[in-house]
């Protein structure tokens, strides 16, 4: 037993020695950048796609149909490789941007569905009541439907964010130095898997904190629901 812990301690020391700890921290920082950037891109894209999908213009419906089909019908890894190869061949800037764009485009499709489901969950009578008062469609959406839909959207959206954080681990395929990639490179050099364990623990901490916040959020939403019921 004591041997086991001694062994663990030695291994951990090895995992962070020779500046490896710093490398892993940098990796985590990149992972956080990717997640935050991609979810923002996803939110903006997702909102636009929902508007397209619900628009009365056929061409916009078609664009959203193609986008949703393409994104959801192909693996994220393939998407990011394609985007890197087509749009970023010979790119010399910060490669994190490639990751943010590719993951954002991917996430946008799922965010779009989340927003749409949230809007659909609101009774059609709410829209009709808004319109009957003489509010236009945009006003009805902003003052009547969305404030109610957000309550349904928010928890699922945070959940999508959690999924996205884990999904960022694919950026290693296009040579972005995120947490997983850094750990994997150390493993390749030293044949020691503890850096991967440390990386896993870092993801776990990130995601547990978010899950905890999500719990608080849901509690608050339920409280405001009770106040109105």
């Amino acid at each position: 037993m004591i041997d086991f812990f001694m062994g663990m301690a030695t291994a951990l020391r090895g995992a962070v020695a020779y500046g490896r700890g710093m490398q892993l921290l940098n990796g985590m920082f990149i992972t956080i950048q990717l997640s935050m950037g991609a979810i923002l891109v996803g939110l903006v894209l997702g909102s636009i796609i929902v508007a397209f999908k619900m628009s009365r213009f056929k061409i916009l419906n078609f664009i959203s149909f193609v986008y949703l089909g393409a994104v959801r019908g192909t693996p994220a890894v393939t998407q990011i490789m394609l985007i890197a190869a087509i749009f970023f061949a010979g790119f010399r800037g910060n490669r994190v941007w490639i990751g943010i764009l590719a993951l954002g485009i991917n996430s946008g499709a799922y965010v779009a569905e989340i927003i749409r489901a949230g809007i659909m969950s609101i009774d059609k009578g709410q829209t009709e009541a808004g319109l009957s008062l003489g509010l236009n469609k945009v006003q009805t959406m902003s003052f009547v439907v969305m404030p109610q839909a957000v309550k349904n959207i928010l928890p699922t959206f945070v959940n999508e964010f959690i999924v996205l954080i884990k999904e960022t681990a694919i950026v290693g395929f296009v040579a972005i130095q995120d947490l997983t990639r850094v750990a994997q490179q150390i493993l390749a050099r030293t044949a020691d898997f503890t850096p991967l364990l440390v990386a896993a623990a870092m993801y776990l901490i990130l995601i547990s904190s978010l899950t905890f916040l999500l719990g608080l959020l849901e509690k608050r939403l339920r409280a405001s629901d009770r106040a109105q019921r």
């Binding site: 009541a129 009957s132 008062l133």
Partner: protein
Amino acid sequence: MISVKDLHVRFGKLEVLHGINQEISQGEKVVIIGPSGSGKSTFLRSLNMLDVPYKGEIWVDGVNVMDKKTDITRVRQKMGMVFQQFHLFPHLTVLENITLAPTKIKKMAKDSAEHLADTLLAKVGLTDKREVYPGKLSGGQKQRVAIARALAMEPNVMLFDEPTSALDPEMVGEVLEVMKDLARDGMTMVVVTHEMGFAKEVASRVLFMDGGVIVEEGLPTEIFENPKHERTQAFLQKILH
């Protein structure tokens, strides 16, 4: 003030209104009766384009409602509507439900909108509920707030779509009272209802609809005591006793 010519409405392939003609003048209280599925609600909802007709004409105060160039939101601002299921906004208080449209559409200042709302709440007898969320109200109270909400835009005509059908029996009276008050104030009203007592007492004209057409219309006394058409007679016989 409302003129309807040869109005046809269909849902998918199913035509539910087969050519409605109707003139409603200022101050009239038109009550529409008829069996379920007869198209009464659809007719009412097509007046403010919640159901969009595919053929015919609707003119409201000289405006061609079905013209694509017509700004339908402006027409709706002058037509209040009350729904069977109330459709109050659950995330807003009673006061906010009433002030939403005047503040967002007419850009009315918050305090004048609240003053207006207080006047309307007094009118429907719910002054003490102004800060409450709709979820805390009874059905009858909800419907009275819905009437106040529609009145806040100072409409020229009020459309009622079976306003008491979703209510427990003991709450029907309080809503009908508010509607009678409104009628006495001279409001132009179009009411789809199964409340024959209300129709007899308040209607200036009764329309009997069946199968997507207006089968018969006339003064309440004519329709209820001396219906000419056999479908009207059959319908009244079923519900009056």
